[in-house]
């Protein structure tokens, strides 16, 4: 194999330079700044003041942090598996039974929530879930008294999870559907010859063949779940109590309501570490299957 020439290497660097610069400016430098600012008191206007570990100590006494971590983790553990499973099942059903205009229409319809703004979705679901909204009126037909979907501390986070799943399923459905289209038809033909049923083909061909896609979906879903903000901001504002307070909502309120950028940076760094650890774990466990 011929040795690469310096000239070729120069070309290679030139090709990756634009991407590298973008990552440097929009990811690496902000992360470095975030680490630095987490040790300061800073309001964006006056210069940062070094406060050492004060912000980190505050993390342990701030009632919003514990609640935010708990809610964000619950949100992630509920939404990611459910939306992944639903998207996979819907994609498989559409690919298997509805490769028609109807299937395309269903896919398109399910994609609409993906492109709709979170604020719009928040307001829409507020109307749907309100005491005299569609859901409670429907339940009323069966004699069930109105449910306090967003005002109950036991149900509010669950309600937010459902809405988030509803919004995301369409996006992951499209990814799974594209993955299913790439699975060689010969595999299914051979399974048919062997007399495999629909469920067996799904479990032993479709699911294993989509492991790399599933890894992508789970990773994306996890990162999105940790970023949940606008939905909660619009629907509940983090309440009732702290029952739907999430990490990004706490970061936003700390930064833009209390003007404590230093402390907000500390919380953001905490979230960064969480996402990093989870991503590493996901890679470790899902990569085995891959």
């Amino acid at each position: 194999m011929p040795k690469p020439k310096y000239k070729d290497a120069g070309f290679a660097f030139a090709y990756i330079l634009p991407s590298f610069l973008l990552i440097l400016v929009f990811s690496i430098i902000p992360i470095i700044m975030d680490v630095g600012l987490s040790f300061t008191s800073y309001n964006m206007i006056t210069s940062p003041e070094w406060t050492g570990l004060d912000n980190y100590k505050r993390l342990f006494t701030d009632p919003y942090i514990g609640a935010s971590i708990k809610n964000t983790v619950i949100f992630t553990f509920v939404t990611v598996p459910v939306q992944t499973l639903l998207a996979l099942v819907f994609a498989a059903v559409i690919a298997d039974k509805f490769r028609s205009h109807f299937g395309e229409a269903v896919k398109s319809a399910m994609f609409i929530p993906v492109i709709a703004s979170m604020v719009l979705i928040g307001n829409l679901w507020t109307i749907i879930l309100e005491p005299h909204g569609i859901v409670n009126n429907f339940l009323g037909l069966f004699g069930i008294s109105p449910v306090n979907w967003l005002g109950s501390k036991h149900l509010s986070l669950f309600s937010v999870c459902i809405i988030s799943i509803w919004k995301n399923v369409g996006y992951f459905l499209v990814i799974f559907y594209a993955g299913i289209m790439d699975i060689p038809a010969e595999l299914y033909d051979a399974a048919d010859v062997d007399g495999a049923g629909t469920m067996q083909k799904f479990l032993h061909i479709t699911v294993p063949a989509l492991s790399s896609v599933t890894y992508l979906v789970v990773t994306l879903g996890t990162i999105w779940s940790f970023q949940v903000f606008d939905l909660v901001y619009t629907l509940t504002g983090g309440g009732p109590g702290l029952s739907t307070q999430t990490l990004v909502l706490t970061i936003y309120n700390t930064a833009f309501r209390s003007y404590e950028m230093g402390y907000a940076s500390t919380i953001a760094l905490l979230m960064f570490v969480f996402v990093l650890v989870i991503s590493i774990l996901q890679k470790k466990f899902l990569a085995k299957e891959d």
Binding site: E130, N148, P240, L242, N253
Partner: protein, 415 residues
């Protein structure tokens, strides 16, 4: 190492200040000025059109290239903070009172007092409400939209009630009569507990708290005083009792937004509610026979009113011109047009005829009982914590005393 990191951060953060800020001379020889206003009308374009049209003569006369931006409420605080931080903030802007504290502390707002003559000051009805933290940093622009007790008089009549209550005890008597009348599908007392906004406190807490003689902060705003005296406990216990002791506040209210309260009142399902004055128009349109009480009497009379104001950027290069713009925007004629075309509020100057709902005219003239919110450090975070603790109280998880203790502890932890 510590100094090096601090230097690095300061250098990075200072980059944003390199850009010029405030007004400047444009290439055409005109002075450039930037005005930021909120969408108080029904849409952003309506506000923009109004200000563009009505400020054009002033801009022409003063040879100003006036840029006007309408900032959506959803990104209001973010836009202001990033705007000021990058030196791209407005010369004249509009802030609500909870915003100003930090901007004053950061030295970003100009004390307006020296730009107004005594005669001009005397013409403003609420000029003194812009005096905060030892300076006239605000020029009250929207004063009103009071939170009031509204009564459906037909429901009250059905319950045998013909007189409006004047005290907390009388309110309980009225609500008890409504409850005892067992009217079909009627909520005796409706206040929003499912709203995501901390502004809900303006109806659910502050009126009761102030009427009980409380103040949330000391005079200079440096200390939260929720636990001082018995006002907070009295107010919270009263609100708590309305739900748990008397059962006047139904489960439905726990997930209701302020907009929902108004809709239900206009739908004729609510006997009494505390909400903003805009419900009057909705009730009129729905043909509801309504009346209102500004303040119930406990230890004092108190009514919450909005106090949103014009502010001047301390970095503005033409402060006299900016002051001139503020005066022009608040002339009686201009405000009369604004209140007629954009948003109906009571007048802010003596030379503007009253055009808001005539039934509230007397209330807004009684300035002694009108209270506004606080300009204090961490006020938004404390209000958020107070509201969330109150939500838990209304769900039966916290006692009124625990609400006070938790909120006071949180406020103390911020200092």
């Amino acid at each position: 190492m510590k100094k090096l990191i601090t230097f690095f951060l300061i250098a990075l953060c200072s980059l944003s200040f390199i850009t010029a800020s405030g007004s400047a001379e444009s290439g055409s020889g005109k002075t450039e000025m930037l005005l930021w206003m909120p969408p108080n009308g029904t849409s952003e374009s309506l506000d923009l059109e109004f200000w563009k049209t009505n400020l054009a003569p002033w801009a022409e006369e003063n040879n100003v290239d006036l840029q006007i931006e309408i900032i959506p409420w959803s990104e209001y605080t973010t836009k202001y903070l990033t705007g000021f931080a990058s030196g791209e903030g407005p010369d004249v802007g509009y802030m609500y009172i909870e915003m100003v504290n930090d901007y004053i502390d950061m030295g970003l707002l100009e004390d307006l007092d020296k730009y107004f003559t005594e005669d001009e000051k005397a013409n403003y009805l609420y000029y003194d409400k812009g005096y905060v933290k030892g300076g006239q940093y605000m020029l009250p622009f929207i004063v009103g939209n009071a939170r009031l007790f509204f009564f459906n008089m037909d429901i009250l009549a059905e319950a045998g009630v013909n007189e409006l209550p004047e005290t907390w005890d009388e309110l309980v008597e009225v609500l008890q009569a409504v409850k005892d009348a067992n009217l079909d599908d009627v909520i005796p007392f409706c206040i929003a507990w499912g709203d995501s906004s901390i502004g809900t406190l303006n109806a659910n807490f502050y009126p009761f708290f102030w009427q009980a003689g409380g103040e949330l902060y000391n005079e200079d705003g440096s200390e939260m005083t929720l636990s001082d005296g018995d006002a907070a406990l009295r107010a919270l216990t009263f609100v708590n009792d309305l739900r748990f002791k008397y059962g006047f506040i139904t489960d439905e209210c726990m997930s209701m937004r302020n907009s929902g309260v108004k809709e239900q009142f206009a739908a004729g399902r609510v006997a009494v509610c505390v909400t903003d004055a805009t419900v009057a128009r909705m009730a009129d349109e729905a043909g509801i026979n309504w009346d209102f009480v500004g303040s119930l009497k406990d230890k004092e009379e108190a009514v919450w009113i909005a106090n949103d104001s014009l502010i001047m950027n301390a970095q503005c290069e033409n402060k006299e011109l900016a002051a001139s713009l503020m005066k022009y925007m608040t002339t009686g004629d201009m405000m009369a047009k604004y209140h007629a075309q954009i948003a109906s509020y009571p007048p802010i100057t003596k030379d503007e005829p009253y055009s808001d709902n005539p039934r509230f005219q007397e209330l807004y003239a009684n300035t002694g009982i009108l209270h506004t919110l606080y300009a204090a450090p961490g006020a938004a975070a404390v209000a958020d914590n107070l509201y969330k603790n109150m939500q838990l109280m209304m769900l039966g998880d916290l006692t009124p005393q625990q609400v006070i203790d938790n909120t006071q502890a949180y406020a103390d932890s911020l200092n």
